[in-house]
Amino acid sequence: MNIALFSSANWSPFLILAVFVLAVLTFYLFFSLQKKEKEITKEREETTRRLYELAILKELGERVGYSLDVEEILQIITGSLRQFIDYTAVGYVVITSEKIKINTHIEKSVSRHFLSEMKDRMIASLSALTDKTFDLENIDEVVSGAIIIDEIKENIGSLFNIPLVIDDMAVGVLTVAHISSGLYKEEDMTILYKITGQASEAVSRLQEVVKKEKGKLNAMVESMGDGVLMVDSEYRVVVANPAIKKIIKVDISKDVSVFDFIDVLGGKFDIRGKLEESVSKKISYVSERINIDDVFFEVGVYPVSHSLTKGGNQMLGAVVVFHDISKDIELERVREEFTGMIVHELRSPLDGIKKIIELFVSGSITADSDKFKEYLNMAHQSSASMLELVNDILDLSKLQAGKFEVNKEKADIQEVIANRISFYKISADGRGVSLDASLNKNLPEFLEFDPQAIKQILNNFISNALKFTSKGGSILVSAFIYNPKEPFPNDLDKQKISVFPEGSDLNIKKTSLCVVVSDVGIGIPEDNIKDLFHTFKQARLNPVDKESKSTGLGLVIAKGIVEEHGGTIGVVSKEGMGSSFFFTIPL
């Protein structure tokens, strides 16, 4: 018993202590477990939230991704908010082109007072962000969701605004409000910031792309030579490039309206009617030639529509393009004139021959009369000039078709020039004009060229020089080798002539044979020189006498021949002093 007593008396405090310790331990374990469980739950909640956040961001990213419409983006965001934030009402305010728009969604019924305070705070926030005041009368307002019950006395307890910034400019505000106070914590706001931030970034990026593309398009329209006018479906001018303002003679910095065009076009083109037709019937139209002063245009009117992703088309307006066709008309006129001239030049000699034969046939002139020989000579001259022209036309068509063949061979330019001089000597003597050659000693004996073709050029140059040089004048044919890297030959015999090309006039890069035919004739007006070597555009020269009418085809053919040789051709001339026609052939 003692032992028992002892033992009970001795052991009982220990036992009590042990039980106590055990209890403490149990409690400790229990609480710590509970705490752990709480932590785990909290962690799990956090993870879920993060995942959720990511999912929402991803979804929003996808939905917002290709939209440029700020309102649409705000709608998407507000529509998704319910999934992770508790609110009584959510809304956004956005600046559109004309006014501001407020869209509020009520989750749980609130009073009118709640709404109006929320609205005021949204606008105040937008004002602060944009540094602008907004006309409260001119607001587009939409309220959706639960009904408004004025009996509900609870007012805004918690509210926060998130700005939507695009391209560094606040364009709207997203607002979340709740009747309970102190509800929104930083993390709630952080996720909203993230969402709007992502949306802003996406839109800014897209807008950047659009701006760049638009810039390209604008630059293109601005720099276009054609006048471009675009109107919207209400016929208001959306685009008018500088060219079109120039056409209707409006200052480039000024805005234009369709009426400016109606005034200028008058009865020539019913621009309003054609625009209406184009927009309503979606048809294109291209006008006949229309002149505005001295300039001719072809005016095209084209409908502009935008195909919607949902299908169908949205009419955006119409584009008017003024295409300047003056050059085409001028070319047409020159070509007609050219054809007319060729026909005339062919008909005249042929008709002359016909009429001479008619005289012979009718017996007006008999073979034994004095006139017979004279008329026979006339017929001979006519047929010769016609043959020359026919040959020129054939050469020209060969050149134009790229079928003109140059047969280069080793030939002596001195011999070719001497040959031509002796050929024209009789004619020059008959006119009292001196015709000489000046062959430089630096000329090699043989060079590579087509002697027949070069003869043809010399024929043209010399016969032209003869035509335009009066009695007592002189013609000089010079030939020399010139290396553009070295000084121009100074031992040329050119005392008798007054106009001679300089090294730079010859326009050569390699050492070349240069042949110059100089005269002391009437010279060529500067304006006419540039057209001399172009088909259809020969200068109308005034020959010194009646026999010298010319189609000018010879020079065009000469140019073709020289270019086939890889050389240059040109002329230097001073009115009243003379001209020097030259060609070069690279060695």
């Binding site: 005339h344 002359g352 009429k355 008329y375 006339m378 005034n542 020959p543 009646k546």
Partner: protein
């Protein structure tokens, strides 16, 4: 003797026409371009002018225009003879007061002579 002024740079035309005209009835004078034609119109006072269109210096159309603009120049019937055959050219020239248009290569010398006689005949009747 009627005086006919041929203004044409094509000397063969005036020569052949001269040969084709009945001898002793007409006096043919020629000018090689429009400017010379104006001079001879004033100095020679012809009964008829035969005018070419494509000429150096002053062409046929410009010649007709000068005639229209200058009332002091003698009023003479103008017969245009040219190788230009476009309808527009013909109607333009007729509108400028020419009494007739002959496409040279389409007509024989004989028919041109007939045209000349017809025009001069009408002018005589008028007087």
């Amino acid at each position: 003797m009627k005086k006919i002024l041929v203004i044409d740079d094509d000397q063969f035309f005036s020569k052949t026409l001269e040969a084709a005209l009945p001898a002793g009835k007409y006096n043919l004078i020629s000018a090689e371009d429009g400017e010379m034609g104006l001079e001879k119109l004033k100095s020679e006072k012809p009964d008829l002018v035969i005018l070419d269109l494509m000429m150096p210096k002053l062409d046929g159309t410009a010649f007709l225009k000068k005639l229209q603009e200058s009332p002091e120049l003698p009023k003479v019937p103008i017969l245009v003879s040219s190788n230009l055959s476009s309808v527009k050219k013909i109607s333009d020239v007729m509108a400028m007061g020419a009494v007739g248009y002959v496409i040279k290569s389409d007509e024989s010398l004989q028919s041109i002579v007939q045209d000349i006689e017809r025009v001069l005949g009408e002018e005589t009747k008028k007087q």
